[in-house]
Subunit: 667 residues, 2 copies
């Protein structure tokens, strides 16, 4: 088989699969939740990141390398190079997104070129490019594969080059040539007969496949496949966390669930899907599908977040999903989207888009502040102590911050969010031979063509997720019937579809969760409206998730809501100031009025004592014991906020999962 | 003030305080739960440890140092020296315990002397003794105070010398002289005008005070006080875990609760109590008392275990006590006992002995296997996956083992348990001017004298904790009235006291939790019997401990019980094989028959599905919904085992906290 090179300006461009991704030139966000975030990303986050990369000296490391003065003066951790590459990737997608229409595009180009030149100057004659290894006074190249992140950094270099090649195709781009030399060296060194190992942090795998897709070079795909097959054969040493930390405990195709470091697991899975798709490896794809299913069914937070352990930033055992020690790293959310998007393109099932939507709204959107210049690294679902804001100048030690922080010693998350938001437009829709699929809902214009040549032009109007109506207006007659497919999220019980096509009476029907299809020879002005029920709802957890037993959460559409102490204090006139002091009245469904969702809370009866364990109270003060009259006296209505908005008003305690009655309460 | 040197053969010998500790020559365990463990410790654990110390080369490090061939060949982590010292301390207590009566004492002496000679040979002329620092090719002395464990190792050297001096007093002991030179160097280097810092791992603090108590040297006490006062002034650098990790976030006397690394926190607290007592520092003692109270009320597991985080082996926030990610390091249990015992001697309150008992039975007794040659490092309260036994030759990477392991890369716990068990006899009883206090219950003989000279002779007979009757028989007429004080554990509601003294009718009365006192001119043969209600009981947790909401535990006397899958499978004929699959019938109290405690369980209804969150079931299959007839049909009786016995029959899943009904269960 041979790779077909794609020039679609999109993050993932497989040679085959159920669905075809659209490019940033085919879809545009025109307003609403995600367009606002894309604009903030361009206006605030990208300049913030570049400023920090300069201040921390992580770009200057390349200058030192070029000047031959490393290792003296090198700053940052072993993966600092990768943050520069992720920033370049984000710039490339942003150039592709805003492209020819944006006055700032020239300035973006200049920034991209300037940093690329500094990176390129550091590359050695044989293609090696890493500021941490290989020079006198540094560790030898490839001498620390377990923890050195060398191939990980190369992977992000390749991803930046992929973004560049797809958004500025057809030129002999400097970064693409830098990446080509680096990729060739990787194949020389790690190919057949070379070093038989892998990188402790997966990333080179999807990067090599994508770079193969850009360049048409089969060798890169073969090398990626080799890395995927080697993983799990014990080529990395054993470590205190266990080999599962870097997924070296068992072969990818033997695993049944994701485990170990969540970001590593997600990147590896993404690369393994890429390999499986390009090589038509049904066995490998089936194994990855099973892993996705089991991970989603047993090891994923309500927010879509993944990773339950702070210790090793790792998945826990099945059902270990503590809200107060949730790690749910922002980058693990990005990795999960990478994995799900590839399976969606390969297989077309709406469950993948469901998880992407959940993760976008509740992990990716949660990380950056409203200002776009501070970020959550970990995303706890339960904050027990109000944080204090970090000074702008501060550098937080990774996940320890209880509020968003402007930068981190390990600063993977800010540029990861930036590159995701810049390329987000690509995740809205796909096509197949028969029509177009809408996966995510946002105001947008779509102008593309089906493989047969039929021109598709659609406008999407919606106030989603605030409002549940998604209106698709056809803007051109394709000259032939085609099928519009719209995703109905799994939570959207009772959705309705209304079709208004020229010459026909309006047709309304139920739309079951999954996908709904309308096949028609659409004419300009035809409208398809999906009505999703976004009223707030209670959600309970599988009883095996011990950490939230006896609790309910509140969701509204794709958004998870949460209780913040600032709202609790305001609603109770200061009588209750901590979310630990209340419980939910589970008999009073959440209400929505004037755009605010409220729940009915009651005080939590918690006896003071020298020892927190005692005989159970035979008559617990639970909701079931209270008469309705009592409840009315004791309860108070408190507004919830979307989880992605939490901690925007300063330090607060916060809960997603609210305890209801407490039947086994101590006496 | 001046230090009075004590020669009592006991781990902690303050110059003042409410209670006076007894020596290993004054109390002997004569049978039962703890005597069995002491014998196993002597027969199996101590030889096992010495074998491992030799095999791992940690004793040989001293030989290399003496030969001048370090750092080449040095093995083990930076704290490897301390394991040798803790082993010497354990040997010293074991010599003191078995002493003149044990045929093996000569062999123990020979082992002690041989290792001491190898240690002594490595000491440098100025008193410095550490195999990891200070030589060409090693890091400079005192250059890595945050993580280097140099003073920590010295502390354990001093503790070994203290044990030696107290169990073989009056000689110019080699180890005591080695320790004296090392302590003098510490004072020279870290005293006024010296390095103004502390060790990242507390231990030198209690060690210096104890060594001052042995030697009468005020300078060591002053240095300990200086270390305690310096802690929390930020002399150590900031780290990713935060300065609280090594308690350098705030001064000891300003803190209100223990935080950070649990072993460090416990050792520091023990040393700070020692300083407060010797210096009559009421403010410091009050601060430590508050810290103990808040830690016990909000940050301690039902087992007495402390430390909720794997990441940094640290305390969590208040109420963060997840059973499935409990760390509860064995060494943190030892540290907690050290802290509580010192407060008990200083203040006399029975709550300290309550916590010691709980921690002894459920942490210290849990760590070693029945064979005495493998150990839990961390003590989870919920095992989700059955472990597989480690080969005898294995070295486990710290807490990652799901079964007891014969040794660890970080092997602090085995020798810590060994030294605790060897000296355990000392924790049974104390005296004051007025009489004798029994704190822990085990078959024992006690022969001591009150300060006024009255000779006390008692025998304790009991099958505790299997049986609740503790019979104290007076074996000598002291010639004067005195007071026998017995602790009534906080859980012992309904305890009774029966006094049978010569010439009086038997007197029975209620004994409320706390302490019960009998003042009498006891004659030989007089008997005081305490009847403690040890039938099994349900225990619930404070509702703020989110991780066990909706659960009950079962306790019996001082023992926490647990459900193991091996018993579940046997009791259900293999129908249920995983503790995740059942819930507790909270309406059926635990039953005891033929020495077995059983509870009534039912299947846990857990819907299979692709996503573990859904609308709550309006009619949950909870216990409250079931009629009694239904319950009889669905329930099955399953035996529980003491938590300290768990995992003795191979890999098993296990729960201490059993879910009851699930009112907020998903539909």
């Amino acid at each position: 088989m041979s790779l077909s090179t794609s020039t679609t300006a999109t993050p993932v461009a497989p040679s085959r699969g159920r669905l075809r991704p659209l490019g940033l030139d085919e879809v545009a966000l025109t307003g609403g939740f995600w367009a606002d975030r894309q604009h903030l990303n361009a206006a605030a986050t990208l300049p913030h990141i570049e400023d920090r990369l300069e201040r921390e000296g992580w770009i200057a490391n390349f200058d030192l390398a070029a000047a031959g003065t490393l290792p003296a003066g090198r700053r940052g951790r072993e993966f600092a190079d990768s943050e520069v590459y992720k920033y370049l990737e984000a710039l490339a997608w942003e150039i592709g997104r805003s492209g020819s229409t944006d006055r700032a595009a020239g300035a973006l180009e200049a920034r991209f070129d300037a940093i690329t030149a500094r990176v390129a100057a550091a590359q050695e004659p044989d293609g090696y490019l890493n500021t941490m290894f290989g020079r006198p006074g540094q560790r030898a190249r490839w001498s620390a594969l377990g923890w050195g992140h060398e191939l990980y950094c190369t992977g992000h270099l390749l991803q930046a080059a992929v973004a560049r090649a797809r958004t500025r195709p057809g030129t002999d781009d400097v970064l693409v040539e830098v990446a080509r030399r680096a990729a060739d060296l990787v194949c020389d060194v790690f190919g057949p007969g070379g070093i038989e190992s892998v990188c402790g942090h997966a990333e080179i795998e999807p990067a090599l496949v994508e770079f193969a897709r850009v360049t048409g070079e089969e060798r890169y795909l073969a090398q990626a496949a080799l890395f995927v097959e080697r993983r799990g054969t014990g080529t990395l040493g054993d470590i205190e966390f266990g080999r599962s930390y870097f997924q070296d405990d068992m072969p990818v195709r033997a695993a049944t669930v994701l485990r170990g470091h969540a970001v590593r697991a997600g990147y590896l899975s993404a690369g393994a899907v890429d390999v499986a798709v390009e090589r038509n490896d049904a066995e490998l794809l089936a194994a990855l599908t099973t892993q996705w299913e089991n991970t989603v069914a047993r090891r994923t937070y309500l927010t879509g977040g993944q990773g339950s352990h702070h210790q090793d930033e790792a998945f826990g055992e099945d059902w270990v999903l503590p809200p107060d020690r949730s790690y749910s790293e922002t980058c693990a959310g990005v990795a999960s989207i990478m994995f799900s998007w590839r399976l969606l393109l390969a297989q077309g099932a709406p469950r993948y888009a469901d998880l992407i939507e959940r993760t976008l709204f509740n992990v990716v959107a949660t990380s950056p502040s409203n200002s776009g210049t501070s970020f959550f690294y970990a995303n706890t679902l339960h904050q027990r102590r109000p944080g204090t804001p970090a000074p702008d100048s501060d550098v937080s030690p990774r996940a320890s911050s209880t509020l968003r922080a402007p930068w981190f010693e390990v600063s993977c998350c800010p540029p990861n969010v930036a590159r995701t938001l810049a390329g987000l437009t690509a995740y809205l829709a796909t096509t197949d031979d028969d029509g177009l699929q809408l996966h995510q809902y946002a105001p947008a214009t779509i102008r593309t063509a089906l493989p047969g040549g039929a021109a598709i032009a659609l406008d999407v109007d919606t106030a989603y997720p605030r409002d549940g109506v998604v209106r698709v207006t056809v803007r051109a007659d394709a000259g032939t019937p085609w099928t519009l497919t719209m995703r109905v999220p799994a939570w959207a019980q009772g959705a309705r579809l209304i079709v208004r096509t020229a010459g026909d009476p309006p047709a309304e029907r139920a739309a079951e969760p999954g996908t709904v299809h309308v096949r028609h020879h659409f004419r300009e002005g035809d409208v398809v409206e999906l009505h999703l029920p976004v009223q707030p709802r209670f959600t309970a957890a599988d009883p095996r998730i011990d950490a939230v037993r006896g609790c309910l959460a509140v969701e509204r559409g794709p958004e998870v809501l949460c209780l913040e102490s600032i709202d609790l204090a305001a609603a109770t006139g200061g009588r209750h100031t901590d979310v630990a002091a209340v419980r939910l009245d589970a008999d009073a469904p959440p209400q929505e009025a004037d755009g605010a969702v409220t729940v009915r809370l009651r005080p939590l009866v918690a006896p003071a004592g020298p020892w927190p364990y005692a005989a159970p109270d035979p008559h617990p003060d639970g909701a079931a014991e209270d008469g309705a009259e009592d409840g009315a006296e004791d309860g108070f209505d408190v507004p919830l906020v979307p989880y992605h908005d939490w901690a925007e008003r300063g330090g607060s305690t916060m809960r997603v999962w609210l305890p209801t009655d407490t039947p086994a309460q101590r006496g």
